[in-house]
């Protein structure tokens, strides 16, 4: 399946919620969409395009906004599909995909705690990798790691 | 060899007279009185039995470790003592010194009483097991029954210590242990009934004398299979080691025990394994006797009975180790189902076969098989 085919199937169903379909090496394409249309898009992608297996959900912090991306696989097409949406950094939230693909559950929990994107209507949005009550989102660019030298100084004074 | 009791009586007697010769006459009479001598003799008897049992049990652990190492393509304990012979002594001393931590919410009495009673009751069995021809220890007519009765105490104490540990894994292990031991007690005893039928006695000495011409493993092979399987379950060894299944219950019912009380458990497990092996040898493999075709030189040297008995015991235990090295563990429900649905019918069959053997002994066709005892 080529990006053009994707656009032909998706645009009538989604309208202006679909921002565009770009080619992506090694995949069927990269679908950009508005976050308001997330659930509609997921359903269309799963039911009409047969991408039944959601592999990965992740987030990228672009400082001014954050990007959430989804990778889905279709057993009949034997192809991957990349879906991505931008969310503003002030209000980082998007609809949860776990009602469409249950496998999104843990990936979204991870994205929430590491990248700081909240997922609406997620069944169980708890900390997964970091301890309960951990207040930071480590994968944001504003979160700086300790330098080794810094650490030396610190432990010497402890 | 004379009976062990008469040996210890002799020692006691000698000590009493030696003491009496240096004491004033009033004390001498008291010491040389038969009651005191007998009491001393019993004490010495107990000490000898205890020492022999302990050394044998520890050697059994060494034997298992080395054998298991060979099965696994490695060399097990090597560096403490010659070929690791002292390894288990080191373990024992270390555990002796190590602290025992009682969990805060554990029941104090049960926590300490359980392992102690478990070990003591298992040690008691050795007071009545004969290991060579002169070893009529107390000469009770019902030694076999008594041994098995004491052997059956164990689930109670395991359950007490598991319950009082106040640990979920211990509790589950204790539950499993109690269920398993009670389920396998029945086929174990029925298999013994087969032996008793053929031998015509509950006395272990008589049972061995009965086997001087033919060992019971041949005619009573079904009973042997049932007995060994049930014994494996009673000893809690793989494939029936569910109560201490390391994979799901951390260490089973001894999870909370460390130090000396853990040593009690470990020691008693092997003690029970020794009892199991000894019983298999006594009931089915002719005890200390050898087949008649063996040249008499093999049986005539001093202590020959004990030597052959130990050789057989260690070989039987080696077979248990072999089973352990090559079989996976079964599940609780499967174990219990096998116990109630397969083992008990099989053991009843073995009783039936034993009855046939008894009849065959006196059928004119076969001629009366010669028997020595009764």
């Amino acid at each position: 399946m080529q990006p053009d085919d994707l656009a032909r199937t998706l645009s009538p169903k989604l309208g202006d919620l679909l921002l565009g379909v770009e080619p992506f090496e090694g995949m069927a394409g990269r679908v950009r969409f508005r976050r308001e249309g997330a659930l509609d898009l997921f359903r269309v992608v799963r039911d009409d395009l047969s991408f039944t297996h959601l592999s990965m959900v992740g987030g990228v912090d672009w400082v001014d906004h954050r990007e959430v991306f989804y990778v889905a696989w279709s057993d009949s097409l034997r192809q991957y599909l990349l879906l991505s949406t931008d969310v503003p950094a002030e209000d980082p939230r998007v609809e949860s995909a776990s009602s469409v693909w249950p496998s999104a559950n843990w990936h979204e929990r991870e994205t929430w705690e590491l990248v700081g994107v909240s997922f609406d209507h997620h069944p169980d949005l708890r900390h997964l990798l970091t301890p309960d009550g951990y207040a930071f989102h480590p994968l944001l660019r504003s979160f700086k790691l300790h330098e080794p030298e810094e650490l030396e100084v610190k432990s010497r004074h402890v | 060899m004379d009976s062990l009791y008469s040996v210890s009586y002799g020692i006691s007697h000698a000590i009493a007279f030696a003491l009496g010769s240096i004491l004033p006459s009033g004390a001498r009479a008291a010491i040389e009185s038969s009651d005191v001598v007998v009491a001393f003799a019993v004490l010495i008897f107990g000490v000898i039995i205890l020492a022999a049992t302990m050394i044998n049990t520890i050697m059994l652990i060494w034997w298992e470790r080395k054998l298991l190492g060979r099965f696994m393509d490695r060399r097990a304990a090597m560096h403490v003592g010659f070929a690791g012979l002292l390894q288990n002594f080191a373990d024992g001393f270390k555990l002796f010194r190590k602290d025992t931590v009682k969990p805060r919410d554990a029941d104090r009495l049960g926590f300490y009483f359980g392992p102690t009673a478990y070990m003591i009751t298992s040690l008691m069995i050795f007071g009545i097991l004969p290991i060579s021809s002169g070893w009529d220890t107390g000469a009770l007519p019902l030694t076999l029954l008594l041994a098995l009765a004491i052997f059956a105490f164990a689930p109670l104490f395991i359950f007490v210590s598991a319950w009082s540990s106040n640990n979920k894994y211990s509790l589950m292990g204790g539950m499993r242990s109690a269920a398993q031991m009670i389920a396998y007690e029945v086929p174990l005893l029925l298999a013994v009934v087969a032996v008793v039928l053929v031998a015509g006695s509950f006395d272990l000495n008589t049972i061995v004398y009965e086997q001087q011409n033919y060992w019971f493993w041949g005619p009573l092979c079904v009973a042997l299979v049932v007995f060994v399987a049930a014994m494996l379950a009673e000893m809690e060894r793989i494939p029936f080691d569910l109560p201490e299944a390391e994979a799901e219950l951390v260490e089973g019912w001894n999870t909370e025990y460390g130090g000396m009380f853990f040593a009690f458990f470990m020691f008693t497990d092997y003690l029970r394994a020794l009892v199991g092996s000894v019983l298999v040898v006594l009931l089915f493999l002719g005890g200390w006797t050898l087949p008649t075709w063996v040249p008499s030189a093999a049986t005539s040297f001093p202590l020959a009975g004990i030597v052959w008995f130990m050789v057989k015991t260690y070989i039987v235990f080696g077979l248990f180790v072999w089973v352990r090295a090559s079989l996976p563990r079964v599940r609780t429900d499967q174990l219990l189902r096998v116990g109630w649905n397969r083992m008990i019918p099989l053991s009843l069959l073995s009783v039936f076969l034993a009855a046939l053997v008894v009849m065959a002994k006196c059928l004119p066709v076969f001629g009366c098989l010669p028997s020595v005892g009764t």
């Binding site: 090694g26 592999s55 990228v60 192809q79 997964l128 | 994979a247």
Partner: protein, 381 residues
Amino acid sequence: MSEMWINMGPQHPMTHGLWNLRVKIDGERILDVDPEMGYLHRGIEKISEDRHYNEVVTLMDRSCYVAGLNWEHLYILASEQALHISPPERAEYIRMMCAEFQRIGSHIMWYAAFVQDIGLMTPFLYGMRDRDLVLDLFQSFTGARMTYEYMRVGGVRNDLPPPFLAQARKVLDWLVPRFKEYDELCIGSDIFHKRCDNLGVLSASECVRHGVTGPMLRSAGLKRDLRKDRPYSMYRDVDFDVALADGADVTGRYLVRMEEMRQSIRILRQVLDWLEHHPGPVMADQLPRWLGAPYAPVGKEGYVLKRNYAKGVGFSSIEEPHGEAQAYVVNEGSERPYRVKFRSPVFANISAARQYLVGYRVADIPPIMGSVDPCIGEVDR
């Protein structure tokens, strides 16, 4: 006993790593489970943002410590796509050989751990013995037993030493009868079937719904193997079959993994033949010099090399021993990746734990979780 929650982990013989399975039980029956992860969360994705492309390879080895080379392969494929670099053919073959040997090593490690879960003691030792032979092979050309740091963007670090091929063939010849022995100890035993048949069943549709991949998925009869479906490296050129089983249970997963090892040997024989007859370079010629730059702490002025290199996003997906692993690398034109995201197969496989554990018994937890082959390093990253 009434219903109660028990914690299996983080220190528990069942876990094979550092995680906690909270189990709600009624007697011996499992009513609910709740895996708790993150005890080994080392922030690999965050540290990667501070490292050069080649330095991230170090973290990949530690990410999945039983399949280090597979994870290096995964990361290198994605970053080569992001950096628009293509490696020479011989390097691709060497990587494929590494991946297949690592698959054998990982599966043997799985076998050793799994048989312990069902109470078999001896095969653990046999497994470790045979795995050491595979690790010896790795040691002969990477210098390390577990953490190799062997692959580079644009190729591999060094070529194979001359005696390697003969040695590798010898190891393969040794392994073939060993697999038969493994089977005799497990499949040949009635108790194994009693324990493992119809256990931890997860049907193919449930697998797809919950994102379960790898041997667990193939044991359900669904033929999905990225080496066939979406060939990467040189898998298009080698001849092999996808291991399949039916039943979707623990026995099925066992059979799939054993068959995969045999297929790996089949692949390896072809690859070794190819490597013998096709000498050549193992590193791409036209590499930007900063790929080999030394580690420079962030924030030190003058050290940071700001280069405007072509931006790009790389995505790779490989069939790791545990399942389907993916990497997503964002290249923003600097010498460090802007964002690295990994998808761990075990992460998804464990997340479906409730589907394949509830309803069985406590004694079934170790074999079922053992058949998942949890490698916590890659789950928590």
